[in-house]
């Protein structure tokens, strides 16, 4: 029993609630029924009519605690947004490095405080722009990067020692990290001042987003190499962003998102510990990434519970001593899957509310989606609107003046603890059934995600899950008056010309030697693959060449789909 309420007043509260149910509630229900028999969160957790002190009595007060102190339920830092607002990090990426560089500079001018980079499908999947598999995809949904020359163009004129840069990339992440480091070295920057992240969370790819190049074990080894390399060479850089976002977008419930993400985090910690590195040497740089979905309070509870559970895992399961190892920091993005094409302007409202729950949940950086993303990748105008939404939350409505203003809410504290309990149940199930990797191979996570996605599709169909403009207040005669992001048909041509130039002008003999060394390093999994990759990209090796050589050695991955 905690100290929020003493036992005597607790009894009084319980009596008063019972009395209230018998009198006011009963009388009111006779006049007017409630909208539903039972109410649930989006993640199917039942919610009561009202929460009182009796609903938080079971929560140990130290579990709620204080911001910046274990278990960090109320926030990773003691002063939170009173010191500095979250990083406003709108993602951008299209065309060539030069095209995206212009968008970055526009966003910085508009007040954005961090960069986030979206890559095109070939880059994400490890193909060069002139590969037949890349046809039609070059620079379309993100920026195309084949060589170091592209990377140089991408971040040209941007102060990489002072702005943090996120790169949304997974199976081929280590190659982009190598290019990022090579670029910084070439510019004479201090590598320990680089801040930002590669996503590099490969396990959620096999679970959800399905971008992969190699078998699971080889991919996890690369992630391990990134973490250990950064711990030594780029101390401020986050070598991974352990991501629930894509798990959610693939259809998972908020609870599954949180639990599956932490399950993946546990695997990465275990893999690095196997190398003999101390947990406190690398764990402070493990970063997370969650979605902010539509269920306002559930999302806040999810963020708070994720922080609490991770802190406890790091302390008890892995014996971390440094509080930084236990401090879960996360980037957040509003939920793209909630955006609608019909009446697309209302996406601005959805996004604003989701952003508000991210802020009340204590995110460290935030991307707000563009209102036009149910059509295509966002225009400059849509990104400006999204950034302004964050700026209003930060500067006009005073929600950032108090740390964890929702803390102590009977409902949210109760839901936070319920989330903790249910996350731990899922983690126990995973442990008891052979661990995360085995369950990915068996399709267990994929099936859980597909089941919930199907359930939601049916609920939208029946109207049980309302979607304004789609199954509620739809406008049959709507004509979309919208200009979407244009795709320059010359993108591939421009991009491929540079890649060919790099291949033609590099030191060919040195390239051959480096590629041999790369394969030899890959073969011996006690070695770290980063140093030789950095050398190879410095000499003009392309991403497709590197991935291709390793596919020959390791093979590829093809999933057995479950639905």
């Amino acid at each position: 029993m905690n100290q929020m309420v003493d036992p005597k007043s607790l009894e009084k509260v319980a009596e008063e609630v019972a009395d209230w149910e018998r009198t006011e509630v009963a009388a009111f229900l006779r006049k007017q029924r409630e909208r539903r028999e039972q109410f649930f969160t989006t993640g199917d957790i039942p919610v009561k009519r009202v929460y009182t002190a009796a609903d938080v009595a079971h929560i140990p007060l130290e579990d709620i605690g204080l911001p910046g102190r274990f278990p960090f339920t109320r926030g990773p830092y003691p002063t939170m947004y009173r010191s500095r607002h979250w990083t406003m990090r709108q993602i951008a990426g299209f065309g060539t490095g030069e095209d995206t560089n212009k968008r970055f500079k526009y966003l910085i001018k508009q007040g954005q405080t961090g960069l986030s980079t979206d890559f095109d499908m070939p880059t994400l999947m490890g193909y060069d722009s002139d590969d037949p598999m890349s046809d039609g995809e070059v620079g379309r949904e993100g920026v195309a990067i084949d060589t170091l020359a592209d990377m140089e163009a991408l971040y040209d004129g941007i102060d990489l020692e002072n702005i943090s840069v996120s790169m949304t990339i997974n199976p081929s992440a280590w190659i982009l990290l190598a290019m990022y480091i090579a670029n910084a070295k070439k510019r004479g920057l201090d590598l320990h001042k680089l801040s930002g992240t590669i996503q590099a969370d490969i396990l959620k790819e096999y679970m959800a987003q399905k971008e992969y190049c190699f078998p699971i074990a080889n991919s996890v080894r690369i992630v391990r190499d990134c973490i250990t390399y950064c711990a030594e060479h780029t101390r401020r850089y986050n070598p991974i962003n352990i991501s629930g976002y894509h798990i959610s977008e693939a259809g998972a419930s908020p609870l599954q998102e949180a639990a599956f993400t932490l399950a993946n985090g546990i695997v990465y910690v275990e893999e690095v510990l196997k190398t003999g590195m101390e947990v406190d040497k690398f764990a402070p740089r493990l970063a997370f990434y969650f979605v902010s979905q539509g269920d306002f309070f559930e999302e806040i509870a999810k963020f708070r519970a994720a922080r609490r559970v991770w802190a406890k895992i790091m302390k008890t399961r892995f014996g971390a001593k440094n509080p930084d190892s236990m401090r879960l920091r996360f980037h957040c993005q509003t939920a793209a899957a909630t955006l609608t094409k019909p009446q697309y302007q209302i996406n601005i409202v959805r996004t604003a509310l989701q952003a508000l729950s991210a802020v009340l949940g204590g995110c460290q950086s935030l991307h707000t989606n563009g209102y036009d993303e149910a059509f295509a990748i966002p225009t400059e105008e849509a990104m400006r609107m999204a950034l302004r939404t964050q700026q209003i939350i930060a500067e006009e409505i005073n929600v950032s003046n108090v740390v964890d203003p929702i803390g102590g809410s009977y409902f949210v504290e109760n839901l936070t603890s319920e989330y903790e309990k249910r996350i731990l149940e899922i983690l126990d199930y995973v442990d008891a059934n052979g661990g995360t990797i085995k369950l990915i191979e068996e399709g267990w996570f994929q099936k859980q995600i597909a089941d919930f996605a199907y359930e939601i599709a049916l609920r939208k169909q029946t109207g049980e899950k309302p979607v304004i403009g789609v199954n509620r207040f739809a406008d049959e005669d709507e004509i979309h008056d919208i200009e979407t992001h244009p795709y320059d048909p010359k993108t591939a041509e421009r991009q491929i010309a540079r890649t060919k130039r790099v291949r033609a002008t590099r030191d060919a003999a040195k390239h051959a030697t480096l590629m041999e060394r790369l394969v030899a390093t890959a073969r011996d999994d006690r070695q770290n693959i980063l140093p030789v990759t950095i050398e190879a990209v410095e000499n003009g090796a392309t991403m497709g060449e590197i991935v291709g050589a390793l596919k020959k050695l390791w093979g590829t991955y093809r999933e057995t789909p479950v639905f």
């Binding site: 499908m121 070939p122 994400l124 999947m125 193909y127 598999m133 890349s134 046809d135 039609g136 995809e137 379309r140 949904e141 790819e205 987003q209 399905k210 971008e211 977008e249 693939a250 259809g251 899957a337 609608t340 094409k341 149910a374 059509f375 295509a376 990748i377 597909a450 996605a453 199907y454 599709a457 049916l458 939208k460 169909q461 979607v467 789609v470 199954n471 979309h480 979407t484 795709y487 093809r558 999933e559 057995t560 789909p561 639905f563």
Partner: protein, 135 residues
């Protein structure tokens, strides 16, 4: 009793977004159709070959990577080459309005965008197969 409608659902290109295609696969299966799902990362040639070999009524291609205007011309060219002109081709995913119009002109029978209710997809496919008539 008429034999069930056969459909191949396919993901073409590098796109890994499979939430929608799996929801559709399950809805069609629950509605009694024979559903084959290609899995991810197929080429246009692979899916057309599979559609012909499996003798399906409908080839449904799901795309959320914006490459519809590259992929569908290749699919139709290959279908024509194979003489499979009566194959019903359906597109699904996220795409701008002008592409929807262009795809229909190209011969795509229906474009099913995000949030189309599963029931509506089932009834629309039944309608398309009925319109085509027996083969």
């Amino acid at each position: 009793m008429a034999s069930p409608i056969r459909i191949l659902l396919a993901k073409v290109g590098l796109d890994g977004h499979d939430r929608g295609v799996k929801v559709v696969a399950r809805a069609l299966r629950d509605a009694g159709m024979d559903v084959i799902y290609s899995g991810l990362h197929r080429t246009p040639d692979e899916v057309v070959t599979a559609a012909i070999q499996e003798d399906v009524d409908v080839l449904g291609v799901s795309l959320l990577s914006g490459v519809q205007m590259t992929v569908f011309p290749k699919i139709f060219a290959r279908l024509k080459q194979e003489g499979a002109n009566d194959m019903i081709v359906v597109a699904g995913g996220v795409m701008p309005d002008e592409d929807v119009v262009a795809l229909k002109k190209m011969g795509v029978s229906e474009v099913l965008l995000q949030d189309t209710p599963p029931e509506k997809i089932v009834s629309r496919l039944r309608e398309l197969v009925a319109q085509r008539g027996a083969r």
